[in-house]
Amino acid sequence: MIKVEHISKSFGDHLVLDDITATFERGKTNLIIGQSGSGKTVLTKICIGLFEPDSGVVTFDDRPFSNIKEKHKIDIRKDMGVLFQGGALFDSMNVEENVMFPLNMFTDMSYEEKLERVNFCLNRVNLKGVNHLMTSELSGGMMKRVAIARAISNSPKYLFCDEPNSGLDPVTSELIDDLISEITEEYNMTTIINTHDMNSVLKIGQTINFIYKGKLWWQGDSKSVLHSDNKELDEFLFSTELTKRLKTI
């Protein structure tokens, strides 16, 4: 379980996050949604330790993670898998080396054991026979799947996904959503997904946190999100022509 309590963050005079408190539960896909610029990426970056909050604390299963020295964060970091928006695959390495990277750094497994684990993870994300492809040879969807394989290769307890559907077609997008949802359940991970994809919200949002102008505006799940009477959430959810028409049906 990951808890963020009273998190605030400013850049210069601009207050980006204002007293955010939320709990992200184990074994569930926890979504952070909101418009571009609402502060959801900053909140995610605070959770993974790329930014420090101005105030408030982040805890991973009651282990403090914010405003402590970098060397004390390492144990928690080893339990983290992160799927970055662009994949952030190492472009000097091929697929196999990318997925094997966390194993090389943090385990004493033999090459055969590591290769077995890499192949298992690649199979898990429905990728076979791509071990020796360079990242530049992969499609957007394949890149995301390799990034997921790398994120889960070291059996993390916490998985963070920053806009996993961005730049993907609807079919691939759904595949990625299904995959994240399945592995969350399978490995009993605490998964936090930062998204503004409506399909993801309705399909895999077991807990949903709506951020509006830096504040936690609404909390609920995929069932309650459609029937909420929150005006700002309603405007966000039904902002496109398609969703507006669907609402009237």
């Binding site: 080893k78 983290m80 970055f84 928006q85 952030a88 472009d91 966390p102 750094m105």
Partner: protein, 244 residues
């Protein structure tokens, strides 16, 4: 300016902290030996031949006096090549080649979040990415400069053979006259300092890029400019300190 100096020193502190895994570090080091050092041999050798030849012709042209012995040309060319041309000019060339390579590599990794990915995995990115580059350059650039000195002197001899500015025999006699081993020590000290400046400055500029591909390009250029200025400034300081 002071803030940037502070950031640079902080980055160097992170870079020289203990590495995560020695086997991984050794692999990275070997990779950088090839990537930064081995691939620079060609350009260093080609430039050194011509720099040596030009130095010899220039000395011969400027000391065209019957009262001066011909062997003085070989002596002067040797001293110029050992003390200045090879360590400084070749380091400036390497600042262009390696500086832009390092800055653009790290800058691209920064803007595509590869450095963030390393950090969230619990790896010290500065140590993982920069330390092998610095160590490989500190070890390999002096080797390149020794090659450069030898090839530069050979270039001077070829200039004598093909242009006849002096006889090759007198050139060789000049090369062997009044030799002080301290010249080599001086050249090596300068080279090691320049190697550190090139790699650390370029790494700092690339590592701290913010933005996109345009900023990576700017960082690449900036790293060459700043490294070159640093080399020239330290050349003056070291020459003053070590030769007077």
């Amino acid at each position: 300016m002071l803030r940037k100096l502070g950031d640079y020193l902080t980055l160097m502190y992170q870079t020289f902290s203990r590495y995560d895994k020695s086997l991984v570090f050794r692999k990275r080091l070997l990779h950088e030996f090839y990537n930064l050092g081995f691939t620079s041999i060609g350009i260093v050798l080609i430039l050194s031949v011509f720099v040596g030849a030009v130095a010899t012709i220039l000395v011969a042209y400027n000391t065209d006096n019957p009262l001066l012995p011909e062997k003085l040309i070989g002596f002067s060319a040797r001293q110029m090549i050992i003390q200045e041309f090879s360590p400084t000019i070749i380091s400036l060339i390497l600042a262009g080649k390696l500086g832009s390579q390092i800055a653009s590599e790290l800058g691209t990794m920064r803007v595509t979040q590869q450095i963030d990915a390393l950090q969230v995995m619990g790896i010290n990115p500065a140590n993982y990415l920069i330390l092998p580059k610095i160590i490989s350059c500190l070890l390999f650039i002096p080797v390149l400069i020794v090659f450069s000195i030898v090839i530069g002197i050979l270039g001077g001899w070829l200039a004598c053979v093909f242009t006849g500015v002096i006889t090759p025999t007198n050139y060789v006699v000049g090369l062997r006259s009044w030799f002080e081993p301290y010249s080599i020590t001086f050249a090596m000290i300068k080279t090691v300092v320049f190697a550190f400046l090139i790699t650390s400055i370029s790494s700092y500029i690339g590592y701290t890029v913010k933005g996109g591909s345009v900023e990576v390009g700017k960082a690449s250029t900036q790293s060459v400019v700043v490294s070159s200025i640093a080399i020239i400034v330290f050349d003056l300081i070291l020459t003053q300190m070590l030769l007077t």
